[in-house]
Every structure is written in C-alpha cells, then in structure tokens.
Amino acid sequence: MLDFPRWRVTMLNALIVLSILAAIPSFLPKAWLDRIPAGVPKETISLGLDLAGGSHILLEADTAQLQRDRLESLEDSVRTAMRRAEPRISIDSVTRTNGRLSFVVPDSAQIDAAREALLPIIANSTGGRDWSIEVTDGNRITLVPSGTANTTVLDQAMNSAKDVIDRRINALGTLEPTIIRQGADRIVVQVPGLQDPQALKELIGKTAKLEFKLVDEGADPEQTAQGKARVGSQVLPYPDNPTGIPYIAVRRLGGISGDKLTGAQQSFDPQDNQPVVNIQFDGEGGQRFARMTQQNTGKLFAIILDGQVISAPRINEPILGGSSQISGSFTVESANQLAIALNSGALPVDLKVVEERSVGPDLGADSIKSGILAALIGTAGVLLWMILTYGRFGIYASYALVINVAMILAVMSLFNATLTLPGIAGFVLTIGAAVDANVLINERIREERSKGRRVIQALENGYKEASRAIFDANITNVIAAVLLFIFGSGPIRGFAVVLMIGIVTSVFTAVTLTRMWVAGWVKRNRPQDINI
C-alpha cells in the first residue's frame, strides 16, 4: 500500500486541480463568465425550474382527433377523385368507423376503375401505401390504415408540432425555452424565468387551424339552433353570431383552408378602428381564395378558427390581391396572439395541457439559500465527527470530502447537469454518506491494531478488507439511483444524477486519495504507532 509511484501521485494531484478549476465557473457571476474568452471551458451547472423559477408544461396530443382529421381528408380526396374520374364514378353509403373509410360503388362494373382511382391517394411519399384496399360484398370498398401509417403520421405531426411551438414561443421574445418530445404523443415545454404561464399556455395550446367555408344560407334557423344540419352542411359554434343563436350552418365542401398563408399581422379596421388580423395568402392559396370569392360574390362566408366560427362577413366583391382581413370581436392582445399563431403555422394536432408546474423565483431563491446553509452546516458537522473520532485519519477524510464536493460540482458543470431542489438534498445526503468508506477503512485499521498488527500491516489490511464492503454497499446505492433516474420525473432525476455522481466520486476520493495521503505520511515518518 505504500507503493505509490510518482507518476500516479502527479496524475491524481492534477485531477484534483482540474476538478477544482472546472467547479469554479458555476460560482462566478454571469457578467464575469461573459468576459471569459471563447475557447476557455466555462460550463456551469444549470438550475432546475424549481430553483430558478419558471414553468413546466406537459402537452398531450389528441390522437383520436388526428385520426378523425386524417379520415376526413381522405374522404375529401376520395370524393374528388371519384368525381374527376373518366367516366365519373358515383359512390354512396360512405361511412367512417374505427379509423376506416368505407363506401359502396353501386355499379359493380366500376369497381376496378374505382380501385385505380384510389391508388394515387393511398400512396405515401416513401413509395409505400398508407391505406390498404379491401373489397367486400362485391362492391363495398374499405380503406384500412396500414400497420405503421398511424404511428408515422403521429410522429410527423408531433415533430412539426414541436417546431410550431418553438416558433410561437420565440415570437414572444427573449425566453429560452426547452421543448422536447416525450414518448409517442407528448411534448414537454420548459420555460425558465416565466412566472405566469397563462399567456404562454393559451398561445401554445391554440391549434390555429384557419378555414374559410361558405355559409349554408338556406338552412332552417330552428334546425341549426338544435345542431341539425342538412345533407352537405355542418353546424359549427358561432358565439358572436349577431342573430343571437350561437350556431351557424356551413357547407362542408368547397371551402379553403388557411394553411396557405405567408403572413399575418395584427392591425386595425380602417372603418371602425376595431382590432383585426390581416392575412396574406401564398400564390396558390391566393388563387383559390380569388376563385372562391369570385364564384360566390354576394354570399356569406364563415371564417373558422379551430372549429369555431369567429365571423361570417358577406363577400362584397371578389378578393383578388391574395390578402384578406379577419375581423371578429378581438382585443388588441387576442388579435396579436392570433397573428403569432397563424404566422407560426397551425398545430397539426390538437394539444392539451395534462400537467403544469410553475414556480415563482422567490421561493426558488429561498430554497437555494437554505439548501446551501444546510449543506454547509451538514459538512461542518460531518468534518467535526470525523476529526474528533479519527484524528489525523479524520483530517485526511475531511480533505477527501471537500475535494469530493468540488468533484461533484465539476462533473455537474462539465456535463451541464441541472441542479434541482431534491438535488440539493441529494448533495447533503452524499456529504454524509461519502465518509462512510473512510469510516469502514478506519474502523478496520483500529481493529487490526487492537489485534496487535504492526502499523503498516494494519493500514494495508484496513484498506484491503474494507474495500469489499465499500464496493457492495455502494452498488446497492447505484441500483437505487439508476431506478430513480429511469422512473423519476424532472426534479427527481436531478436528485438521482447527484447521487450517482456522488457515489462514484466519493469512492474515488475516500479510498484512493486518502490512501495516497496516508501512504505519503507513512513513508515520510515511519510511525511506530498511530493514534486512531
């Protein structure tokens, strides 16, 4: 055990110095850090939301809605394809159940033509098929989603939803959000420093699906009020309807969707000075809008946002310039929010908040203060016990403990790990547990000495015999910490990270470093007796 070659001592000392250096940036004020030239490593520990304050929002996709939307647009494409086929193929008994679209081709001679017409619709971009065709009873065609199509569609929708959220939050300004996907259908949004997440939630929760559909002006108002629509029409909620009935009937087909926008801005209506949103269509969208307004001049059309009609103006003249204005009962704020949402694109899938946690900065600051206080007093207490009990060997253990603290901070800084509130507790716990290895070793040395072994032999046995128990005891902690990390959420993970790092560094400092120091001391002084 006295055998500590010089190169090893140098290496361990270098490691200690590096750890202390790596831990330093986390304690420097931000202004200083900014002045450190690029290239010099200056990673710091980041504070979790529970310490820094901020909002954590977990969003979940409405997958059923996504499937319904997909089926609806499939039906649209199928109807169009059958209408445009030469000769035209008539279909009826169209049903959408269990994620399948099913319809009957009355003229069974046209079945093959119908199949043919479906092929371009069901092909996807990678050359496979999103739907498979089944023919039953001779003339009923059913489109069944292919095995992976639903998952792929959800996956794509979630990815683009993530981008949309990113754009929307960026539009709010200087926030530094973290947006990550979780599982198949969830997205986590974390925004440090945001105290009131209300506005943010409204913004990212808004699907912002804009549609323009013609109003079914021939609908019976009484029927509409009861939610009943004629064939080819549908009833939508219209809270601001001037007639007082909060519903309106619109034509199902022949509308255009608002995904062909190039821009949207909040503005004011020149006539009555009410807040409005100006929108500009792209080339194709502009042409379609022009065609729709040309063909339907004099009629009412409904502006629909997320399935709710916000206004239903009359088309006074064809709108050819590719830009339009959305009016409704907006405030400046809500018009601005709609403009941001439209600019960032519609969410491809409805998202709802299933979990939200927000912490004010004051509570976090209090927690940091008392956490640091507890860590300092705790460390002092442990150092005192160790030195009182083991004398010189306690002092070595104390050095090791201080270096251990520096190393935990260093590792956390280098990996940019997040310190959370439970993480502080983990830190305090680690301080107490780290010296366990020293206790085991020193107790063993005591025992060996009381059995009459000579100093060097006792030291040697102490380190050797104790290491097995140290190893076993720490493995169980690692098992618990790894499970904590796997199953824990947010702050708890921060706790697990501190525990795991602490276990590794504490074994290193408590065993290897103290052994080096003890060996050096024994070599220099050749003690005949030790006070332990």
Binding site: Q198, L440, E443, A469, I486
Partner: protein, 326 residues
Amino acid sequence: MKLLKLVPDNTNIGFLKWRNIAFGISILLMVASIALVATRGLNFGVDFIGGQMIRTTFVGEQSAPVEALRESIGELGYGDPTIQRFGAENQVSIRMKLPDGADKKPELANEMAEKIIAKVKEDHPKARIDGVDSVSGKVSSELFDKGLFALIAAALGVAMYVWFRFEWQFGVGAIWALVHDITLTFGLFALTQMEFDLNTIAALLTIIGYSLNDTIVIYDRIRENLMKYRKMAMPALLDLSVNETLSRTVMTSLTILTPLVVLVLFGPDVIFGFSVAMAFGIFVGSYSSIYQSAPFLIWFGVSSDSFVPAEKVADSKAERLNEGTV
C-alpha cells in the same frame, strides 16, 4: 490528542438475546403502520391523485389565515380546498380537485387557478404566489404506477444483488429489512399526515439504497466470520459480527444523520417531508440491520457450511455451494 470513541473497544453486547422481543416490537410497529395507513390514509399530493396545488406566502403576515381562506375559496364553488402549512407559519399550499370535465378541457383548470389566485390577492394584496402545480388524472395515475413500480423494482433489484453476492437467505433477510423500513416510513406519513408526493417516493428509494448499506456491511462481516470460525454457534457468531461492526454502524449512521437532521431543521421548506422521510428511514434502517436482517439468518438456517469453498466439501454438498464461493 485523545480521540473520541463513541463505542468502546471490544464490546460484547448480547444483541441477539433480544431478537424475539425486537422482532415482536417490529411486527407490532409494522401492524400499527399498516393500520394507520388503512384508517387515516396517506395524504396524497396532486402528483398522485391529480388536481391543483397553489403555493402562497402571505408576506408581512404572522401566520396564514387558513380558516378565512378555506371559507373564501369554498365560496367559489369548486368544492372545499385542502389547506396545509409548509415551512414558515405564513406559507400554505392550497390543494383543489380539478373541476369536472377538466380532462377534456384544460381551460377549466386554468380558470379555477385564476379565480383562486384572484380571490387570494383580493383579500390579501401582499400575498405572493409561489407556484402552481396542475396535474391531470391521467398523468397522476401514471406517476403513481411508475412510483410504485420503481419501489418494487428497487427492492427486488437490491435483494437480487445481495442474493447473488451472498446466499439466498441473505437476500430474503435484506428484503425483509427493507419492507420493515419502508412500512414504518409509510406509517410515519399516515400518522403525521405529511404530504405524500413524488419526492416521498424518491426518499423511499434512497432509503432502500442506504438502509441496505448497514445490512451489507454486517453481512459481509458475518460471511467473513463464518469462514473463520467454523465451529462457533450461529447466535454467538452473529453477535460477534454485529459487535465488531458496531462502532462503524454507529459512526456511519451519525455521519449520514447529521447532515439530514440539519436538512430537516434548516433546509428548504418545500422538501421538508422529503428530508424527514430520509432521516427517519435511515435511522430505522440502522436498527433493522442489527435486529431484523441479522437474526433472519438464524431462522433461515444459515450455517458455517454455507460459505466454505466448494473443493473442500464433500461432493454431496458441492452443487449447493457453488455460488457461495466469493
């Protein structure tokens, strides 16, 4: 310098003599804990039952007006709030069930939080809102399942490890000690009605890791002594092992408990329950290593044969012993 000796050298305390009494007391405490959990129940936080929690500090007031709050929030028509102090006298958490239909329409939960906050601010303009947690029923039941699974997996994981490193009897002894520690901690939470949340699960997992520390150190010594003193009777050998490791057990418990007690007294208020659970669990864990996991080995018939290297034993026993040669 005269060094401190918490435990005198060469103690010879007859711990195992008391094993039946200790076991009886432990069983009694465990039954009491289970009864407490069954009758009083655990005070689950929003993490596990869903709902909304608003943390408020009444700045400039001596204590939080709990009764007035209960009344004024109750008047909002969302049902009765659960109001609990945390940390200082003037800090409370207000917990509410999520309004009906909030699973479908999260706006309803928002609306409730806004109304409650507005009400609190109206009556107490200086009140500070420290945080809002809102957890839907779906997420909370997921968190509950995950937490429960993690506890069971951790307990089984460490028991498997002990079995793998020692013998199956040691594994069973270790898991018994864990069940003991965890049950008593549950009992503490039922008794005090401290909030049982995600942090509590983290504390329990930590207890699983650390309470096993002592058990393993004592087991390690038992194994060593079993190989050294082949003829010693089991109770005497266990006593010897516990006594030999006693000063270490006391010292380690002390060095771990010191910072934890400091954490309970001075640490962040938000994790008070977490700190208490850890301190309590580790305290109970030290006791159970001596009085639960060690005596178990007698009842399960561990003997000095269990660890003799295979080649020295008669063939008939060889197969059983392979895993014991470490």
